[in-house]
Subunit: 339 residues, 2 copies
C-alpha cells in the first residue's frame, strides 16, 4: 500500500496536490484546499466555484437510488458548499458519464430532481458534458456569488467564540441505517434527511448578512471532521459539550432500535449538510433569532473555541477525549464500503 | 435499444435535456447546447464556463496513456473550448475519481501535465474534488473570460462568408492510427498532435480582437460534425472544397502507409483542436496575417457559407455529397470502441 493513494488517504493526497499546485494566480482569493474557490472577476460580487462527483457503487447504488433523488443529492452537496460561504448559488454545469443501455427516462428523472432543487434555490443548469461509461458518474460544478463584505470561510474563528450548528446532527446517518435495516413509518423524516437533504442556503445567507460570524463550514463529512477543518484553518482548538449536541428524537429512536451510538451518529455520521459556525458570545442570540425568523431553522450552541494547544476535546464522553475522525473516502474504500 | 440512451444518441440526448431545462435564468447569455456557457456576472468582462470528462477505457487506456499526457489532454480539451469563444482561460476545478491502488506518483504526473498546459495559457487550478473508483475519471471545469464586445459563438455566420481553419486537419487521427499500427520515427509529429494537442488559445484571441469573424468553433469532433454546429446555429448551409483542405504531408504519408483515406481523416478524424471560423471575404486576408504574425499558425480558406436550403456540400468528392457525420459518443460506444 506504500506509495498508493490508499496509503496517503484523501486529505493527505489533497495536501500533496495543493503543495504542488499552490502558486499565485490572478484573482484567486481562496484556492485549493477549501470546498469552494473564491474568485475575483472584477465585478461587484465575488465568484464562488465548487465541484462534487458522485460515483455509482461508491456514493450510491443504482437499484436503491431513484434518479430524481440522485439529481437532488448532486445538487444538495454543491448547494451546501455555496451555503457555507454565505453565498447565492447561480449556475451549474453537469458532467455525466452514462451507460448506453440506460433508459432515457432515467436521465429525465435525474434532471428533474437536479433542476427542482437548484431552481428552489435560484440556480439553473447552464451547460455540461456527456460521456459513455459502464457506471453512472455525475459531476456537478456550481458557481455562485457573494457580496465582497459578506464572505465567510473556514478560517477566522477566535478564542472564546461559541461554536454553533443549525438543525440537528446524525439524522442522515440514522436514516441511512434505517434504510439498511427494516424501516418503519416513524423513520420517514430521517430517511428523507438521508435521501433528499435540504442544503441550508438561506440560513447561510442570513448568517452572513447578520454579521458577527467568524468562520463557517457545511457538515458533509461529520461534525468531528468538519470542526477539524475550522480549527486547522483558524489555528484554534475546540471544546464540544456532548450534552449540547442537537440530536433529534427520531435519531435517538432509530439508534436505540438498531443498537447504534447516537453520539457517534452525531459526531461522524456525515451528510447532515447543516452549517457549523463560530461567533462571539455577544452575537449568538441575535444570529439565532435572525436565522429562526427567516427560515424556521434552529441554531444550537455546542461548544467553544479554545487555544490550538488544547486540541479538539469532547466533554461528557470520557472515553473519547479526541473526537473520532470524519469520513475519508479512500480509507472507506479500503473497507470495501459503498452507500 | 428503444428508449435507451444508445437509441437516442449523444446529440439527441443533449437536445432532449436542453428542451427540458431551458428556462430564462439571470445572467445567462448562452446556456445549454453550446460547448461553453457565457455568463454575465456584472463585471467588466463576460465569464465563460466549460466542462469535459475523460473516462478510462472510453477516452483513454491507462496502460497506453502516460499520466502527464492525460493531464495535458484534459487541459487541452477545455482550453480549446475557451479558445473557440476568443476567450482567456483563467481558473480550473479538477474532479478526479481514482482507484485506491493507484501510485501517488501517477497523481503527481497527472497534475504536472495538467498544470503545465494550463499555466502555459495563463490559467491555474483553484479547486477540485477527489473520489474513489475502480476506473480513473477526470472531469475538468474551466472558467475564462472575454471582453463583452469580443465574444465569438457558433451562431452568426452570414451568406457568402468564407469558411476558414487554423493549422492542418486529420493529423491527430493519423497519429492515433500510427500509434495503433507500428509507428516510425517520421510519425512523431502526428503522434504528438494526438497525444499532446495544442489548443489554439492565442489564435482565438487574435481572431476575436482583429474583428470581422462572424462564427467560430473548435474542431473536437471533426470538421464535418463541427461545421454542422455552425450551420445549425447560424441557420446556414456550407460548401467545402475538398481540394482546399489543409492536410499535412505526414498525415498523407501515414494514411498512404496504413491504407486510410486522408479525406476521411480530415473530415471526421476528430481531436484536431484547430479553430474553424467564418468571416467576410474582405476581412480574411487581414485575419490570416494577424494570426500568422502573432502565432505563426496558418489560416486556410476551405469553403463558403451558403443558404441553409443547400445543406452542407462537399465539392470534389462526388460520391460523398453529404459530409460524413462527426463523432457521436454513444454511437461509438455501441461499436465497442475505446480510444
Amino acid at each position: 500500500m506504500s506509495g498508493t493513494i490508499a496509503g496517503l488517504g484523501e486529505f493527505g493526497l489533497i495536501a500533496r496536490i495543493a503543495a504542488r499546485l499552490r502558486r499565485p494566480a490572478e484573482g484567486v482569493l481562496l484556492g485549493i484546499g477549501d470546498d469552494t474557490a473564491v474568485l475575483d472577476m472584477g465585478g461587484p460580487r465575488l465568484t464562488l466555484a465548487t465541484v462534487d462527483m458522485q460515483v455509482e457503487g461508491r456514493h450510491f447504488l443504482r437499484e436503491r437510488t431513484p434518479p430524481e433523488l440522485l439529481g437532488r443529492r448532486v445538487a444538495a452537496v454543491n448547494l451546501s458548499d455555496i451555503a457555507a460561504m454565505g453565498g447565492t448559488p447561480r449556475w451549474a454545469l453537469v458532467s455525466l458519464a452514462l451507460p448506453a443501455s440506460l433508459p432515457v427516462t432515467w436521465v429525465d428523472a435525474f434532471y428533474e430532481g437536479l433542476d427542482a432543487l437548484l431552481g428552489a434555490h435560484g440556480a439553473a443548469v447552464v451547460g455540461g458534458n456527456l460521456a459513455g461509461n459502464d457506471r453512472i458518474v455525475a459531476d456537478l460544478t456550481l458557481l455562485g456569488d457573494v457580496e465582497r463584505g459578506a464572505l465567510l470561510t473556514r478560517g477566522g474563528a477566535r478564542l472564546g467564540d461559541l461554536i454553533c450548528v443549525t438543525g440537528t446532527l446524525g439524522r442522515s446517518a440514522a436514516g441511512r441505517a434505517a434504510l439498511d435495516a427494516d424501516p418503519t413509518a416513524e423513520d420517514a423524516a430521517a430517511i428523507r434527511a438521508h435521501l433528499a437533504p435540504e442544503p441550508r442556503v438561506r440560513e447561510g445567507q442570513v448568517l452572513a448578512a447578520a454579521g458577527g460570524v467568524t468562520a463557517m463550514i457545511d457538515l458533509s463529512d461529520g461534525l468531528a471532521g468538519d470542526l477539524a477543518h475550522i480549527c486547522t484553518r483558524s489555528d484554534m482548538g475546540a471544546r464540544i459539550e456532548t450534552a449540547l449536541l442537537p440530536v433529534a428524537a427520531d435519531t435517538h429512536r432509530i439508534a436505540l432500535r438498531l443498537g447504534l451510538d447516537p453520539l457517534r451518529l452525531a459526531l461522524s455520521g456525515g451528510e447532515d449538510f447543516e452549517l457549523l459556525f463560530t461567533a462571539p458570545a455577544a452575537r449568538v442570540e441575535r444570529l439565532r433569532a435572525a436565522v429562526f425568523a427567516a427560515t424556521g431553522s434552529a441554531v444550537t450552541v455546542i461548544g467553544e473555541v479554545r487555544p490550538a494547544e488544547e486540541g479538539r476535546r469532547l466533554i461528557g464522553a470520557p472515553d473519547r477525549e479526541t473526537p473520532p475522525g470524519g469520513w475519508d473516502h479512500f480509507q472507506r474504500e479500503r473497507q470495501g464500503e459503498a452507500r
